[in-house]
């Protein structure tokens, strides 16, 4: 039995997919998600083998979701969508397969065959993450997308990862590593990223530890390990 996650914003579409998967006898559905944010959490929690992923979802699309995941968390992905305008893109994303709604049992069987074949060789699919331009952040009541250009710094603590920008500190499901790799933010400390475009000043103390000050006055520590890279990126 493979552990499957179903991600689709339409309840009946999820229900239909779950029914089909159950009928195949090949999958245990470990979660259903109505949007990409729920999916980010579920993937961390459940570590599914396969994800049946709708492309068009509110706020963060299926493609964007893949870009927001750390490589080792990415399951096998089968896109499920109502129209084929995304087919080529799906193959660019190294999707394992691509199903059109409504999905027939025969077509699902072929997809299962592919999943079996590919997971046999033990190779993880590489979804060469697209660039992240907007970071989904949970506010008090709602989800907000913060443009990467507006972000000043990102910090990680016991409570999770927080994006600091004009709207204050906002919680995000994304990890520092994903944001470093795919949002182009600069790593300056084990627990901090800074947006190089917002850096106004770098102060270096004797012990090779520094502090950068951002345009709006935030102080971000720079560890000895990252000082050289920070100096290089800032052109110093």
């Amino acid at each position: 039995m493979r552990r499957a996650l179903v991600v689709d914003d339409e309840p009946f579409a999820r229900e239909e997919m779950c029914a089909l998967l159950a009928a195949s006898g090949e999958f245990e559905v470990v979660g259903q998600c109505a949007n990409a944010i729920e999916a980010l959490q579920a993937i961390r929690r459940e570590r599914p083998d396969v994800m049946f992923l709708d492309v068009q979802m509110p706020v963060v699309s299926g493609f964007e979701l893949l870009a927001m995941l750390e490589d080792e968390l990415v399951p096998q992905v089968v896109f499920v969508t109502a129209h084929d305008e995304f087919a080529l893109r799906a193959f660019d994303e190294n999707a394992l397969d691509y199903l059109l709604k409504p999905v027939s049992r025969e077509r699902l069987a072929r997809a299962i065959e592919r999943i079996r074949r590919f997971s046999g060789d033990g190779a993880r699919p590489a979804y060469a993450g697209a660039e992240i331009k907007r970071i989904p952040c949970s506010g008090a009541r709602s989800l907000r997308l913060v443009a990467v250009a507006d972000v000043e710094l990102v910090k990680s603590g016991p409570a999770g990862v927080y994006v600091v920008g004009p709207g204050g500190e906002l919680f995000t499901e994304l990890t520092l590593r994903v944001l470093e790799d795919r949002a182009g933010l600069l790593r300056c400390h084990k627990q901090f990223l800074v947006n190089a475009a917002h850096v106004e000043e770098l102060t270096i103390a004797d012990n090779q530890v520094g502090v950068v000050r951002t345009r709006s006055g935030h102080q971000v520590p720079v560890s000895r390990r990252h000082l050289a890279a920070v100096k290089a990126r800032l052109g110093l």
């Binding site: 914003d9 339409e10 309840p11 009946f12 579409a13 229900e15 239909e16 029914a19 109505a34 949007n35 944010i37 509110p58 706020v59 109502a82 129209h83 059109l100 709604k101 409504p102 999905v103 709602s142 989800l143």
Partner: protein, 571 residues
């Protein structure tokens, strides 16, 4: 022997006065010439072959008269004003005209005899040539304005007459007599001829300025017609539109009669002769056929060429301008202006005809553009309908597929909604529908969407029942609701509400379609097009004063407001 003696005790001053007398005869002649029909008021006409012949004849006459009206001296010398005609002929008509006038007047001078006859003939030819060279020079220097300048005339004549005196000294024998002749007539002739030329040119300039003003008046009349006829050809080029336009042209231009034809028959005829020139009859005149075939203005001016009515021998109409109406290279018909035989002053000319043609052709072009624009709207509408369907269709089928497992009755209802929706999409072809029909169409769509999004989509409809029979362009509501669902509600993580309201306000019907996502400002791709088409169709079908406006509070509200008339406008 003293051969060169003035007759009587003629002093130099008397000589000058005599020459001025001769010049005044010219001015009288000129006065009649510029008022005659053979005078061509427009400068561009002077350089046509016909214009050049006219200039040659007139200035040769002037030049020859210059010899006759000159003061004969003992020994055959003549103090004369021959140079005026030759120089002016050259300046206005170019070197060939100048040369021809000079040779003609010079040859004539030979017949008058005298010891300086040959020298005078040569000198006049040289005068004409000088005028012609000045013409060439000024045209090459791109200052043709200076052709009709008294300073030019004065200078060229003064130089020409100085050379004239030189030639007399060179060619006339005996030399002593030549010297005495030049001493006596040199200064008076240079002065008189130069001044004469200059005055001549001043008068000519005044006269052409008068004609320029007439031309400006003509343009002004064409513009008045343009303003008043604006919109009459808006819908079509037909008898109804033509019978609206023709009286306006008649009134504004003050001609005797106005006709508008298409390519085969008379659409409208107003003014004198409307007793036998009747709308609806086939085109009778060759002028019209000629204009239709050549696409050129045809002008029978009533002087050289007379309009001859083929319908009635008693027809008073004597002259006509036939103007072809051309749109995009196609001839649609003609506009014709007529004047009767007995009219003293004709308010019609070729340039008025051309002005009117340009104005009316432009209006026809605009109306054709309008027609194509509405065709475009129809095809865009079809495009949008086609764009909507696959996405919606497959998601709906997927939903129904799921519902079938748990609730077959509900699935059957959804299928029936889907059928209703597509049937209306395919079948409705008329331009206008009632609000009730629109709501029904939208209702079947919303039933399916509510099933797809379940508790994420709430729909509220609040319509004034009196407005259910309101007429709207078909497919007005559907694209707006679809925008609200597709780009509004379905772009939100949480639940959303779509509202449709219809109310009467300020004598209008106001329909609002809103969602509480407020994503409009983010410019959802494709959402603008559907709305633009709805707006265009309302304006085309119900009038320019109505249409669609959008307001948006980001993340809170997008409201699309339709304003339409309560009653369909009378067409």
């Amino acid at each position: 022997m003293n051969v060169v003696e003035p007759i009587g005790a003629l002093s130099m001053e008397r000589l000058v006065l005599s020459l001025v007398e001769a010049l005044s005869v010219f001015f009288v002649l000129f006065h009649f010439y510029v008022r005659s029909r053979s005078f061509r008021p427009y400068r561009q006409d002077w350089l046509t072959p016909r214009g050049r012949v006219g200039l040659y004849l007139f200035f040769s006459t002037i030049s020859i008269l210059g010899s006759y009206l000159g003061v004969r001296l003992l020994g055959g010398g003549i103090a004369n004003t021959r140079a005026v005609g030759a120089v002016l002929g050259g300046i206005l008509g170019g070197p060939w005209v100048g040369l021809a006038v000079g040779v003609t007047a010079g040859a004539q001078r030979l017949t008058l005899g005298g010891f300086s006859a040959f020298a005078g003939a040569v000198a006049t030819t040289v005068d004409g040539l000088f005028g012609g060279l000045a013409h060439l020079y000024l045209r090459r220097a791109r200052s043709p304005e200076r052709l009709v300048d008294w300073r030019t005339a004065f200078l060229v004549t003064a130089v020409g007459e100085s050379v004239h005196m030189g030639i007399v000294l060179l060619l006339a024998r005996p030399f002593d007599d030549a010297v005495r002749l030049v001493e006596l007539i040199g200064l008076p002739m240079i002065l008189a001829n130069s001044t004469g030329s200059a005055i001549f040119m001043t008068l000519l300039r005044q006269r052409t300025t008068v004609y320029d003003e007439v031309g400006a008046l003509t343009s002004a009349r064409a513009l008045c017609v343009a303003q008043r006829t604006l919109g009459l050809f808006h819908r079509a080029f037909d008898a109804a539109a033509a019978s609206g336009v023709a009286p306006i042209i008649l009134e504004e231009t003050g001609v005797g009669a106005v006709a508008i034809t298409d390519k085969t028959s008379v659409l409208a005829f107003v003014g004198q002769g409307s007793d036998h020139h009747r709308p609806g009859t086939p085109i009778a005149s060759d002028y019209t056929r000629q204009a239709l075939v050549t696409k050129q203005v045809v002008f029978a001016d009533g002087v050289r060429e007379h309009f001859e009515c083929t319908l009635s021998p008693a027809c008073e109409l004597d002259s006509v301008v036939v103007v072809p109406l051309e749109v995009d290279g196609d001839i649609l018909g003609t506009v014709q202006l007529f004047e009767p035989r007995n009219k003293r002053f004709r308010s019609m000319n070729r340039s008025l005809g051309e002005g009117l043609a340009a104005v009316l052709s432009n209006q026809l072009l605009a109306s054709r553009f309008q027609e194509q624009k509405s065709l475009l709207v129809v095809s865009e509408l079809k495009l949008v309908q086609a764009q909507v369907n696959p996405h919606f269709l497959f998601n709906s089928l997927n939903t129904i597929s799921a519902v079938t497992r748990t609730d077959p009755d509900r699935a059957r209802d959804l299928l029936s909604n889907l059928s209703t929706f597509f049937r209306k999409n395919l079948k409705r072809s008329s331009d206008l529908s009632t609000l009730a029909e629109e709501l029904e169409h939208v209702g079947s769509y919303l039933e399916i969407e509510k099933a797809r999004f379940r508790d994420r989509l709430v729909v509220e409809i609040d319509v004034d029942p009196a407005l259910l029979s309101l007429k709207l362009p078909t497919f007005t509501l559907q694209p707006l609701i679809e925008n609200a669902v597709k780009h509004g509600i379905s772009a939100r993580l949480g639940p959303g509400t779509a509202r449709i309201r219809a109310r009467r306000r300020d004598g209008l019907a106001v329909i609002e379609v809103e969602d509480d996502a407020g994503t409009w400002s983010e410019g959802p791709p494709g959402a603008g097009l559907g709305m633009q088409i709805v707006d265009k169709r309302i304006k085309n079908l119900l009038g320019e004063d109505f249409g669609v406006t959008v307001s948006c509070v980001p993340s809170e509200l997008t409201r699309v407001t339709l304003r339409v008339p309560l009653a369909e406008r009378p067409s």
